[in-house]
Every structure is written in structure tokens, then in C-alpha cells.
């Protein structure tokens, strides 16, 4: 029973190892170049799964603040976007974004109820720039005017890291596929052993 619990507690971590090993095996021992690249993608996603698992917390929610948590400061924008649906040109999009930006700015200026809070926050930002080193902000939750329990939200940092890793993965896949096509143009095959055979027999 204890063993099963131990397994369940870390089940994600077991699965990522299994997937990663499948991918690694394909990368090392498959002959087909495209199979190798699929293996590479599987391998990379397994690592991403590992990172995302680090960020998971029981009973936590996605790392985006609720509207009531941000004092309703952003209600205005929700309406805007549906209105802007008619434009789909890039220049229009820029305008729309600029409009949103002004809204955003106005909200802070107009919203008298929270002016004080905002000021407080602004001070805090300046503080933060200077004092990050010394003070440990983890224990100052709520100081910035927001009452947030860190355990309520998942760790956003790993998500950021993994966005980068996904992008790197697709970039590598693209370059790999391009090389594969070039090899096919030169050898007429995408099987590695056939290519090596051609190189050995050919007089290149």
C-alpha cells in the first residue's frame, strides 16, 4: 500500500521518465531520420512535462489573478475586445491595442477609490528596485495592496521557462526537417544506414 501511494504521489515523475526514455531510444537507435526527429520532439516534451510538474500545487489555480483580486480595475477592457471584432487588419489591431492602453492608463487615474492603493503600489515598485537584495518579499504578501496567498496560485516561473523550451523545440524540429530534406535531395533516401552505405561505396 505504501508503495502504491509512493507511486501515486510521484506518478507524473515516473511517466516523464518513461516517455523520455522512449524518445531517447528512438533518437539513438532508429534508422529513419524523421523517426529520429519525432523521437527528439517526444524527448523534449517529456522534459517540459517534468518542469510543468514542478510547478503544480495541490488545490492551486492557474497563475492569473481574478478580477476581484485586482479590485475590478480591468473590467473595462473585457467589453472592448468584442467591439473591436470588425477590424482584422494589422494597423487596426495596433490602434485597438493603443486604445486599450489608454483605457488602461485612465482606469488608474480615474478610479478614485483605489488611488491611494495605487500610490502605495507605486512606492513599492521603487522600493523593490532598490531593496530586492536585502528584503525577502516572500513574507510580505499583501504589502502591495493585494491580499494573495502564494499557495493559491501555481508557480508561474516554470510555465515561462517551458514556453521558451517549446519554442526552442519547434525551432530545432524545423531545422532538423530542413536538413532531412536536403539529405533526401542528395541521397534519395531518409534511412541513415542507406546514406552511410552510399557514402562508403561512392567515391566522394
Amino acid at each position: 500500500m505504501v508503495a502504491i501511494e509512493a507511486l501515486a504521489d510521484k506518478f507524473n515523475y515516473w511517466v516523464y521518465i518513461v516517455i523520455m526514455m522512449i524518445g531517447l531510444y528512438a533518437m539513438v537507435s532508429k534508422n529513419n531520420l524523421i523517426k529520429k526527429l519525432i523521437g527528439m520532439s517526444v524527448f523534449q516534451t517529456a522534459i517540459i512535462l517534468f518542469y510543468v510538474s514542478i510547478g503544480y500545487k495541490d488545490e492551486a489555480t492557474i497563475p492569473i489573478l481574478y478580477h476581484d483580486q485586482v479590485h475590478g480595475a480591468h473590467h473595462a477592457e473585457e467589453g472592448d475586445h468584442s467591439d473591436e471584432g470588425a477590424h482584422h487588419d494589422e494597423t487596426h489591431a495596433m490602434e485597438a491595442i493603443a486604445k486599450e492602453a489608454t483605457h488602461h492608463g485612465n482606469d488608474h487615474a480615474v478610479d478614485a477609490d483605489h488611488a491611494e492603493v495605487d500610490e502605495h503600489e507605486a512606492d513599492h515598485v521603487i522600493d523593490a528596485h532598490v531593496m530586492h537584495n536585502e528584503s525577502d518579499h516572500a513574507f510580505e504578501a499583501g504589502h502591495g495592496g493585494l491580499d494573495i496567498d502564494p499557495n493559491q496560485f501555481e508557480n508561474p516561473l516554470v510555465h515561462v521557462l517551458m514556453l521558451t523550451a517549446i519554442v526552442v523545440g519547434v525551432a530545432t524540429l524545423g531545422v532538423g526537417l530542413a536538413i532531412t530534406q536536403k539529405l533526401y535531395g542528395e541521397f534519395g533516401t531518409i534511412e541513415e544506414h542507406e546514406i552511410i552505405e552510399q557514402l562508403r561505396t561512392g567515391n566522394d
Partner: protein
């Protein structure tokens, strides 16, 4: 839990199957499952990206290369 088991299955099958086009499609399924899993774990941004990049664009890249080269695989 079920998604995790299916993940292993799809990863395995996509690397086993000899027809590369099906391998690419199953890889797309794998990515989509992965994306569901991450969405379930609360990593919405990552899941969103994976849905667009992994299941969408990567699969298209793979398929366009397969159509430009050869569809059969020896292993």
C-alpha cells in the same frame, strides 16, 4: 492518470508505426494529449502554446517534409 497512460501509448505507437504519415498524425495526438494534461495541471499558457505549436504547426511541418521525401520507414 488516464491521460498519462495514453501519453505513453501514443508516444510508443508513433515511434513504432512504419508509415511515417500515421506516425506524424499520432505524434499530433500525443501533443494534444500533452496539452490537455498541462491544462489540467493549470499550466494554461504552456498548454495553449503546445496546442498551437506541438499539435498544429509541428505536425504540419512533419507532414510537409514527409510528403516531400519518403513515406515509408524501415523501422
Amino acid at each position: 492518470m488516464i491521460i498519462l497512460i495514453f501519453l505513453i501509448l501514443t508516444a510508443f505507437i508513433s515511434l513504432r508505426v512504419k508509415d511515417l504519415l500515421s506516425a506524424a498524425m499520432i505524434f499530433g495526438v500525443y501533443s494534444l494529449l500533452m496539452c490537455l494534461l498541462w491544462a489540467g495541471m493549470g499550466a494554461v499558457d504552456v498548454a495553449f502554446t503546445e496546442a498551437a505549436v506541438g499539435a498544429g504547426v509541428s505536425a504540419v511541418f512533419l507532414i510537409s517534409t514527409i510528403l516531400r521525401t519518403s513515406r515509408r520507414s524501415s523501422d
